[in-house]
């Protein structure tokens, strides 16, 4: 069909009402978000949901983790209300945007150490982070959430351990608030109940892939969860002939080292249908423990080394030959804006088939591989 053959008169007759435009202007100027939770932190909701579900089964909470749980669960009502209010006012897409400055390298290193101490040893700050209305209520060296700018004000100087712990505590409570909201909205993922034999087969396949591709052998101390993506689709939408349904239908196998939100994490997505998308991914504190990021131009210095490593990886692990074409990316955020990154995404094209591999420039390792027809 050519474009001019479609009768599109109706389209030019669809209009927004003047009243709605006025409402939009008024609400947006006020920075008001609508009442529905679904737009806020959609990724965080899923992450919180998965963590919540994983945390419910398996090995059970350690004593230290229990200390953290007690801390967030026993927040006074007034404090909970403050976090809820801040969550509702949140308009940031990335965590970094919600702070007045990023960490220094030394601060980030110490932050990671203290984060472990917070979750694993129950080391908490002596005081809670300050929540203030206006910037003029704090000094330049204070850490505080400031309502006026809707951001965390970071101290001008290097942060102390107490300030870093206050920040870790802030994020722990904030994430707990997200979890609570997700639960209320019914977004908490539940593990799929599978016959033991089927679950064992999925686990065995996942563990073998993690060992073979990443060289990591996970033992029984690792907690796991199996999720069926089809549990989250309206049954009326299921159409096995539909390309998107087929792409989406998969078992998701998550392995986490501990209950802590920053735990090292492996994920294997095993497609249910031939030609569906397979993904193998690793994340968490063992892999994201450095602040270094590069611009696209700076990453040029790593492309040759990364590409050689990636081609060797797909050849050894998945028997793939030389691709017809290779594209390099990973330096755009979800809105198509240029950003810095720690990983280069190599898109390898084999005819119509695309395989993407994320290679980390700091650790010089493959972090993620995704593609169709990779599993024989």
């Amino acid at each position: 069909m050519k474009r001019d053959e479609m009768n599109t008169e109706f389209y030019s007759e669809l209009h927004i009402s003047d009243a709605m435009v006025d409402e939009l202007v008024a609400d947006v100027k006020k920075g008001k978000r609508h009442a529905d939770f679904r737009f806020r932190y959609s990724t965080a909701i899923v992450a919180a949901a998965i963590i919540a579900a994983v945390g419910c089964g398996g090995i059970g909470a350690s004593a230290a983790y229990q200390a953290y749980k007690n801390r967030v669960e026993t927040m006074p009502e007034e404090e909970q209300a403050v976090y809820q209010q801040e969550l509702e006012a949140d308009t940031y897409a990335a965590v970094e945007e919600a702070r007045t400055r990023n960490y220094t390298d030394a601060e980030y290193k110490r932050y990671l150490e203290l984060e472990d101490a917070y979750y694993q040893d129950g080391v908490f700050p002596e005081q809670n982070i300050k929540h203030v209305s206006r910037l003029d209520e704090i000094t330049t060296d204070e850490l505080a959430f400031v309502e006026e700018i809707n951001q965390i004000h970071m101290p001008a100087g290097e942060m102390t351990d107490e300030q870093l712990l206050q920040l870790i505590d802030y994020y722990a409570k904030y994430n707990y608030t997200i979890e609570q909201n997700a639960e209320e909205m019914g977004y908490v993922a539940e593990q799929t109940v599978l016959p033991e034999e089927e679950a064992d087969a999925i686990k065995a396949q996942g563990l073998a892939l993690i060992k073979d591709c990443f060289g990591v052998e996970l033992d029984d101390s690792w907690d796991y969860g199996i999720y069926n993506t089809m549990d989250y689709i309206d049954p009326e939408e299921l159409d096995p002939d539909d390309e998107i349904t087929r792409d989406f239908a998969a078992y998701v196998l998550n392995y986490t080292e501990s209950d802590a939100p920053n735990a090292t994490f492996y994920q294997v997505i095993l497609p249910m249908y031939d030609g569906g998308v397979f993904i193998l991914n690793r994340a968490g504190k063992a892999y994201y423990n450095d602040l270094t990021e590069y611009t696209r131009a700076e990453a040029d210095a790593f492309v040759e080394e990364g590409q050689a490593a990636v081609l060797q990886f797909v050849s050894e692990k998945f028997g793939l030959g030389t691709p017809d074409r290779i594209e390099i990316g990973g330096f755009e955020n979800g809105l198509g804006e240029e950003c810095t990154s720690q990983t280069i995404t190599f898109s390898l094209y084999y005819g119509e088939n695309e395989v993407t591999v994320d290679w980390n420039m700091v650790h010089k390792m493959v972090y993620c591989i995704a593609g169709r027809n990779l599993l024989k």
Binding site: S42, E237, L335
Partner: protein, 172 residues
């Protein structure tokens, strides 16, 4: 002063682009209030990010891209309007004004397409973007956009045949 300039700017942008974004999102979400929520999120994002553009076309593309991402987020969690038949929302302001036209069959066909196909049809056929730009705005590859367009044509052809057998297009 800066705040006041931002306020004026966002009002101008909302008044200039909300009608176009409304049309696109309404066909996808099928509900005026949901569209309002998506537009509110889109313009808030604009206000927060304060993106800079070389041309108005670039600004328009940015807004379409963000609103499409917001529609996707919305549909990921809420499927309740996916199967809303056109006749059930005919009394809403947007549709009521557009009921008497010959192109109702086209609207009905597009209305009943699944969201992923609809996005391609709207941007390519109704907004007049090239296939490459359509793919870019939907964050998909050009070959995926081509496949979706082909699939949409086939579905629309079949729907149209079912409705009245009066073809509004040919297979190619």
């Amino acid at each position: 002063m800066r705040q006041s300039n931002q306020s004026e700017d966002i009002e101008t942008v909302i008044r200039q682009y909300s009608d176009m974004l409304f049309r696109i999102c309404f066909l996808i979400l099928k509900n005026e209030q949901d569209v309002k929520d998506v537009l509110q999120e889109t313009f808030l994002r604009y206000l927060t990010k304060q993106p800079e553009f070389n041309t108005e076309e670039h600004r328009k593309a940015w807004l379409i891209k963000v609103s499409q991402n917001k529609c996707k987020e919305f549909l990921r969690f809420h499927k309740r309007h996916s199967y809303t038949p056109l006749h059930e929302v005919e009394n809403c302001a947007a549709i009521a004004d557009a009921t008497n036209y010959e192109s109702r069959e086209t609207l009905e066909c597009i209305w009943n397409l699944e969201a992923s196909l609809k996005g391609v049809v709207i941007l390519y056929y109704l907004e007049g973007y090239s296939l490459k730009k359509t793919a870019e705005l939907l964050s998909i590859s050009e070959s995926a956009a081509r496949k979706r367009l082909q699939r949409a044509r086939e579905k629309m052809q079949s729907m149209n045949t079912e409705m009245k057998g009066d073809m509004i297009y040919e297979a190619r």
